[in-house]
């Protein structure tokens, strides 16, 4: 089972090592991890996608919660959250296929963020499925490089984390 865990923590040196190290130490698998600042000064938020059954997940969550700099670690239910991934693709386009590629970019709601002659950098944003789908469509072209961020996720409705 795939799970998305959100971790709100102090933005201190080494917190990344503590969080990610905990996964390897306890034998938990990280599928993706993304981290960044939040609206709260001095606080970061991780979104970590991990696999395992419910018991494993609960153990991961509790072990994360035990880290001194972790304020809250919780499981995000996919159905109640907005999830996004971001991808950049560097594609070499032949002149005769430009129009067709533009159509696909429009269809997947992507953007051309750079073009250097025949080499374009495209960006795609969406949930994991949409980004997968865009990648599949672009496979037909000559992808020189590509990169994906991990997933970030936010629950719908009022904040469950911070009582303000």
């Amino acid at each position: 089972m795939r799970h998305t865990i959100s971790v709100l923590c102090d933005d201190t040196p080494g917190v990344m090592t503590r969080v990610s190290g905990l996964f390897s130490r306890r034998g938990f698998n990280i599928e993706s991890l993304s981290v960044g600042h939040t609206e709260l000064p001095g606080k970061s938020r991780f979104t970590i996608v991990t696999t395992g059954d419910d018991t494993v997940l609960e153990q991961v969550r509790k072990q994360l919660q035990k880290l001194v700099h972790v304020i809250k670690a919780w499981d995000i239910k996919q159905s109640q959250a907005v999830e996004r991934e971001h991808a950049l693709l560097k594609i070499e386009v032949e002149d005769k296929r430009r129009a067709e590629l533009l159509q696909i970019i429009t269809a997947v709601q992507g953007r051309i963020v750079d073009s250097s002659g025949s080499i374009w950098i495209l960006e795609v944003t969406g949930d994991t499925g949409s980004v997968d789908n865009a990648f599949n469509l672009f496979m037909d072209y000559r992808i020189l490089e590509s990169i994906r961020t991990g997933k970030i996720a936010l629950e719908r409705g009022p904040s469950l984390v911070m009582k303000k």
Binding site: D10, P13, G21, Q59, K62, Q65, V68, K72
Partner: protein
Amino acid sequence: MGKAKLSGAKALVRTLESLGVEIIFGYPGGATLPIYDELAKSSIRHVLARHEQGAAHMADGYARATGKTGVCMATSGPGATNLVTGLANAYMDSSPLVAITGQVPRPMIGNDAFQEVDITGITIPITKHNYLLQEAAEVPHSVQEAFFLASTGRKGPVLLDIPRDVQMEIFAPHQAKYPPLEGYRPTVEGHPGQIKRAVSLLKSAEKPVIIAGGGISLAAAREILVRLVDKTEVPVVYTLMGKASIPNSHPLCFGLMGYHGRVEANHAISHADVILALGTRFGDRSTGPISTFAKQAKIIHVDIDPAEISKNVPSYLPIVGDAAQILEQLAALAPAAKHGPWLEELRQVAGQHPLRGKATGVSIPNILRILRDLEDDPIIVTDVGRHQIFTAHYFPVDSGRSFITSGGLGTMGFGTPAAIGAKVGQPDRVVIDISGDGSFMMTCQEVASAVTEEIPVVILVMNDYCLGMIKQLQDAFYGKRHESCRFGRNVDFARLAESMGAAGFRLSDEAEIAPVLKKALAAGRTAVVDCVLDDPANVYPMVTGSSLLEYVE
């Protein structure tokens, strides 16, 4: 304010003094010299170990014997890495420890400088938390926080890594506002609803059992446990870490459970309908094969660490909180009860399965029996191996903090330094380390520390010329092929002890046991007794099958 400026090192020593630290076990080096220079002017006693691992185990033994936080100190690089085993040991057994390490000066960090090692990186998995201090002004607050973390919630080791230039940096102390530890709020009070449910579960039980773990000592909940047991007549079994959490001669105490547990204790676990597990993490040496563990029981799990709930064994009714507080409420709410038939059943099993260790000759059981006749209330410290399990079975302890052992990590070499630390913490009690010829050699250099520092401990080396527990496993599971478990010609431990200034004794005949032990106990200084066993027997019971009920005895 107008406070005088001071150095990071001075601030460290002052903060330690203000926290009530009386003793530091350590070993100096280039990167801690500024601290040592300040220690010289302080009221804090420094016990000079002979190896940093020894210093860590001493601090650990001190913590276990007193309930206070132990402090150890080492220099950067190899000094710091030598602490690692000691920290891991304290982490596994939730022992409150603060370790202070020197670090190379800030501008050199990351350059692979002389004696540089990333000790905060290395110790993340084996400390509750650690710090690399960035400036002297952080020192007072970080040290206070380290002690707070080490000694609250689930206790454990915390490490402070202090670069040498931070120790020397001069700063003006100020009341800086530090953000509170938002993420650290250990649950202390048990949920009242859960406690009520536990009471009714216990009330309905026909075959209840209490598992007493190491958490009872850590929570100083021993007396309350005894009160609960006396009132409810629930039989108690203990884990290795929990041995001193109930008087072993209590009529409702049924001994050690687990892999090397007593038959009646494992019978109780396996037939119980309700188990009240107190301060135990259900380690694999306590549960035996997990798939068959306590299948008929509803488990009430009391632990300060929520991550222990259902980690190894599913719990029917978890209560997260401090064992002392929860036990106090259970003892108040639980009605007095009688469990005649159940106790009768357990006593019958116990009667059928007495310990079968040899009560004669120079055997570990016989030595322990004679020792207990001579000294019935010492602090017993053990090393790790066959002698450790023998001691758990054959040396009943009746008072608190009287059995100190390396439970989770199983660290050979823990005994001698831990005994030294325990004696420093409890100078009025007799401290006896039961060791083996394998374990003792791992940290025997600390005998020299004990002699120099005038810390009189008695060390019994159960000398069977081999790694007994390894031999036992090879006997049971490797067709008696005793690969690499024999030492051959062994060390003369009495002369080794004498070379370090301790009293050295040797006994190899049954008639010598009592007189030699008497001399060692009366030596008034550190004494080592080389007990040359004539019957290096394996230790039983031992679970060999797929459940606690399949054993060899």
